[in-house]
Amino acid sequence: MHTEDFPMLKQDIIYLDNGATTLKPYAVIDAITDYYENYSANAHRGDYDISLKVDLAYENTRDIVKEFLNARYLEEIIFTSGATQSLNMIANGFFAPLLESGDEIIISKSEHASNVIPWFEIATAKNVHIKYVDLDDNHYVTINNLKKAITPNTKVIALAGITNVIGDERPIKEICKLAHEHNIFVVVDGAQSVPHLKTDVQDLDCDFLAFSAHKLCGPTGVGVLYGKIELLEHLIPQNYGGGMNETFDNESEVYLKSLPTRLEAGTPNIAGVIGLGAAINYLNQIGMENITSYERELRRYLINELMQIPHIDIINPESDSGIVAFNVDGIFAQDIAVYLNKYHVCIRAGNHCAKILKSEVGVTNTCRVSLYFYNTKRDVDKLVELLKDKNKIIEEMI
């Protein structure tokens, strides 16, 4: 649906790599162009009209994000460069000072590198243990397995809302409830979930949430760190500099501004933040529930079609999201991607930044199709048509 909103879709391509990044609608492109063409000044320097306009637009996005996530306070919304930076800020600014030798961090083997390596770094520096919650036969996280993984030393559980290879939707609300009963913090990597699912941070009761604008039709280089205000107050800035300080005379007397500005040192990605606001407005117009249900139906259609093809092995037939990982019997994933590219079908091959997943699933590399609401049954039909004939693949893959 809404394919007409996307200039990229005027080209002869079928874009099925939305897990990597999404296409941008006119609404977002126009908002960014409008900033650069009509009020291209810095923020927080409001001595003249256009700068004031920048302030208003920048802070308006904070409002939009707050409503989008149903956060309690504007101060709980911090703009970052993306999910990766948000997760690093949470790990290094909040947890590194808090954790003590012998504490445990629970993650899973299907996490993206950005929700793994920051924790590895802390583990080494602070003598903290990383524990992997066992995944079930579908490679899902279950409450039961999480209960088994929790010990009195567990301090934080960091999991993706939806994972980027298996595409399973985690029961975040139940996870938060369980975790909080044991005084454990929950960090949600929302990079793959926020774009596809209505996310209500108060209902979920998660402590932190990270996501990127570019995976929800927004620009690259901008994202959000959400944290409960009482926790964010304790998050130590990683970046110091302009914009975030109140006064300073010498090294011992630097006074920092309050939230959220304290955590946004330097000139921010103003165009990006404005574009993020436009992207969320755009998604809201379509309706997150509509997006979720449309994608589910399209996924079911794709799975049913792929199931008919004997040489295709689907890694995650049961998952709920628009992510489908598969292999073609006897053909290296990348050769499939190269073959499909000849027909302008864009999919991803590889380990998808989930390098520790291979020990779980037993395959290192997969082809990944990831859908968004602007994909259509025709896109799926074209993909399926190309994958049906194995001889044709072998014939044309080199």
Partner: protein, 142 residues
């Protein structure tokens, strides 16, 4: 080389790669992978008296990388180190559209037009990057 022959050589070496098997511990072992893609191969090299006695490989890689490895191994067997280095230089020149000696590259000539597919040049070069590392390792430990 004509497209049919090119294709036939690549497919034959992809489907039945030469010496794709683990090697004993006395071989020099190197890993070679492409940062931008997912090819990942281990190459094993046995040299005696500066002559390449055996080369094997294991790992996962695409059709181009796999066939390039198989073809490379057949070219290298029995060659001296300086002959191997000469092959490497000429092969690399061919991939990068520089002048090269077509006489010595044999089957490897099937990649003479790979430059047309920019994203696959690295696949064709992958095993040769590995062998370069392995030769350097040999020289170091000599």
């Amino acid at each position: 080389m004509d497209p049919e022959t090119r294709r036939a050589i690549i497919m034959e070496n992809y489907l039945n790669p030469y010496n794709r098997e683990p090697a004993p511990a006395n071989y020099i072992k190197v890993n070679t992978n492409n940062e931008s893609c997912i090819d990942n191969l281990d190459i094993y090299l046995l040299i005696e008296d500066d002559i390449i006695k055996d080369v094997k490989f294991t790992g996962e890689a695409c059709a181009i990388s796999t066939s390039a490895t198989s073809i490379m191994i057949k070219l290298l067997l029995g060659k001296t180190i300086s002959e191997a280095q000469n092959l490497l230089t000429n092969y690399r020149n061919m991939i990068n559209e520089l002048p090269y000696d077509a006489e010595i590259l044999e089957e490897a000539l099937c990649f003479d037009e790979i430059y047309k597919q920019q994203n696959r040049k690295n696949c064709a070069l992958l095993p040769w990057k590995g062998i370069e590392k392995a030769l350097a390792k040999y020289q170091e430990n000599k």
